[in-house]
């Protein structure tokens, strides 16, 4: 059954968006008489979102998924536009042009919001400062994100505490505790390696308000930390590793606790001064931080409330407190969507939706407006979860086009014809003419150049460029 042309704008060029795009292109064969266009917009000049700016440098295999995104981009019906922020100017991407969402509503029949959860959740008792930084800043530092966060002061810190017990916390701990020579062939900028070589970090405490059975990290990341050469974990008391009365641990929980038991038994071989250490501090919740009052070797005093689990498995204070002398705090407490994202719900921390169909503030389901990935679900799940979610959304979009949901509110342009099928918003056209907006083909040239620069440094996966270098390089190849 052939329907009216489907002209889909996707906001965000990360995995969920590319999986939605790829699925739409697969479900509507190229030779079909059904007209389809999919335009993916990202506010950064490169595509891939967290695959490029979230995955740790020493996890190159995870990034293989990008090959499928590149394959989708060989379909002439898909276009990628980098350096386009749907909204106003943003410090997250200073080189981006601004395009109001109204321009997309006017030029497209369908909209998919795949802009993720890019805002870190902060701790109310730990305001950001020179020595209290969100984990996202560290990740953006080692992935060379265009927002250019400040370099973490690890050259002047011995004891770091990371608040939150998820995979981001373990990734950061692992990068900070790895030997620089073990990282140098990976996709990690030279200046980050240089700074890591100057690191004075000897110890990392990873703090969580609940226990080993409630951790958010996964076995793989824990195993990697336990296997790091020259690094030892503080043994955990065996009582903390026992399951609660009547609790049946899941497979994942059992495997993680086994690893913690194994890690607690290991004895470091060699003199202890050579070793770096890390610990998991369970049942501790920050209640404040002050600069060190006494002349000790640490910079800060982190006050911690001791907690226990209530019958609903929530952490509640016991009344006891303690102080942890620390030099740097990294808060890793999850993320939410940009509050300026259209149809963002502050109560949820992501876009308001039911099964991927966006719902406005008045409770109306919007016609032909969808959301996928973390923008839809909040910041949780791995690549596989995001992929399944994206495939669902693609399926729903096509089903709804065939069989519209009753009683929706229209915001998109339902009158796209052959003549307007390839029309772009004016701002995007101007951005392409001035070479500010980056197409997929242009991105592949930049991609190749980054790989070339990495190889020139001696077998390195790639050496990332920032926008100034990209701009200079593109000018050079344009002239050639």
């Amino acid at each position: 059954m052939v329907m009216n042309p489907l002209k889909v704008a996707i906001v965000g060029g990360g995995p969920s968006s590319f999986y939605v795009a790829s699925r739409l292109l697969s479900l509507v064969p190229l030779k079909s008489t059904q007209q389809l266009r999919v335009h993916v917009y990202d506010r950064l000049w490169s595509p891939y979102g967290l695959v490029r700016y979230g995955v740790a440098p020493d996890h190159p295999e995870v990034k293989n998924c990008a090959h499928k995104f590149d394959d989708a981009a060989t379909d002439s019906r898909l276009k990628f536009f980098g350096n386009v922020n749907i909204g106003g100017p943003t410090t997250s991407s200073p080189s981006a042009i601004s395009v109001p969402i109204e321009s997309l509503l006017a030029k497209y029949t369908h909209l998919v919001l795949g802009s993720g959860c890019a805002v870190p959740v902060l701790h109310p008792e730990l305001p950001p400062s020179e020595r209290c930084i969100p984990a996202l800043d560290v990740v953006h530092w080692y992935t060379n994100h265009p927002s250019k966060p400040k370099t973490p002061p690890i050259d002047n810190a011995q004891h770091v505490s990371i608040i939150g017990q998820g995979n981001v916390s373990l990734d950061i701990a692992r990068i900070l505790l790895s030997r620089p020579e073990d990282l140098r062939q990976h996709d990690i900028p030279e200046r980050v390696l240089a700074h890591l070589a100057k690191s004075t970090v000897k110890r990392i405490s990873i703090i969580g308000r609940r226990g080993p059975y409630e951790v958010a990290f996964t076995a793989k990341e824990l195993r990697e930390l336990l296997d790091l050469p020259g690094v030892v974990m503080d043994p955990l008391p065996s009582d903390i590793l026992q399951p609660k009365e009547g609790m049946k641990p899941t497979r994942q929980q059992s495997r993680i606790v086994s690893l913690l038991q194994r890690g607690s038994k290991e004895i470091p071989k060699g003199p202890s001064e050579d070793f770096k250490s890390w610990s998991l501090e369970f049942f501790r919740s920050p209640i404040g931080v002050v600069p060190t009052r006494h002349s000790t070797s640490s910079n800060l005093e982190l006050s911690l409330a001791h907690t226990t689990l209530d019958p609903n498995n929530k952490a509640v204070p016991t009344g006891a407190t303690s102080i942890l002398p620390i030099d740097l705090i990294v808060t890793s407490l999850g993320h939410r969507s940009e509050p300026t994202t259209h149809w963002y719900d502050p109560g949820l921390g992501h876009v308001r939706n039911v099964s991927g169909r966006v719902v406005d503030g008045g409770g109306n389901v919007l016609k032909n407006v969808y959301t996928s990935g973390w923008a839809s679900t909040g910041a949780k799940g791995v690549l596989a979860t995001t992929m399944m979610n994206a495939y669902d959304v693609a399926q729903t979009l096509l089903s709804d086009a065939r069989d519209p949901v009753p009683e929706t509110r229209s915001v998109m342009n339902e009158d796209i014809k052959e003549t307007t099928l390839d029309e772009l918003p004016e701002e995007v056209k101007r951005g392409l003419e001035s070479s500010q907006v980056i197409t997929h083909d242009t991105w592949k040239r930049i991609d190749d150049e980054e790989v070339r620069r990495g190889a020139a440094l001696g077998g390195k996966e790639r050496e990332r460029m920032d926008w100034t270098e990209v701009d200079r390089y593109l000018q050079k190849i344009r002239v050639a």
Partner: protein
């Protein structure tokens, strides 16, 4: 002989784009055995309906075979044990014939949706003559919930 075997090819919603993606060859290129001489694998969908029966050679992995035969099994990390998208459920008798999964594979299986006692990563299941007749069932994808209770129609 091959032609007399009726292959029940259920029309799946996914069809390959006209330009086959390069990723098909990236993780272990497989060659098709002479019809009737290969190791038979039955691919089923999450409801237990037969998708197709295919034949592979010794040493072929299930993920590569699925791609060779246009079966809707993802392999996001391309066989490097860094994701769980090629999760398959095997027939118990064949699952038992395989070596235990290693720590790496088990770490990924922890996160697979709809994990069972006979689940494996497709990229790690290597064909052997004794696996002839093995059934690989694709796990259920996410619940396809719809506001109005309707199910998606096949394209």
């Amino acid at each position: 002989m091959f032609h007399s075997v009726s292959l029940l090819v259920l029309r799946v919603t996914l069809r390959r784009p006209l330009n086959p993606p390069e990723s098909v060859t990236r993780h272990g290129h497989v060659t098709r055995p002479k019809p009737g001489t290969g190791i038979k694998v039955h691919f089923k969908d999450s409801k237990g309906e037969l998708i197709k029966i295919i034949e592979g050679n010794e040493g072929d992995d299930i993920l590569s075979l699925a791609h060779e035969h246009d079966i809707d099994l993802e392999g996001a990390c391309e066989g490097s044990i860094a994701c769980s998208t090629c999760h398959v459920i095997l027939s118990p008798e064949h699952y038992d014939l395989l070596e235990e999964p290693g720590d790496d594979e088990n770490d990924m299986l922890d996160m697979a949706f709809g994990l069972t006692d006979t689940s494996r990563l497709g990229c790690q299941v290597i064909l052997d003559k004794k696996l002839d007749g093995m059934v690989c069932t694709l796990p259920a994808a996410t619940r396809n919930m719809f506001v109005d209770g309707k199910k998606p129609t096949h394209h």
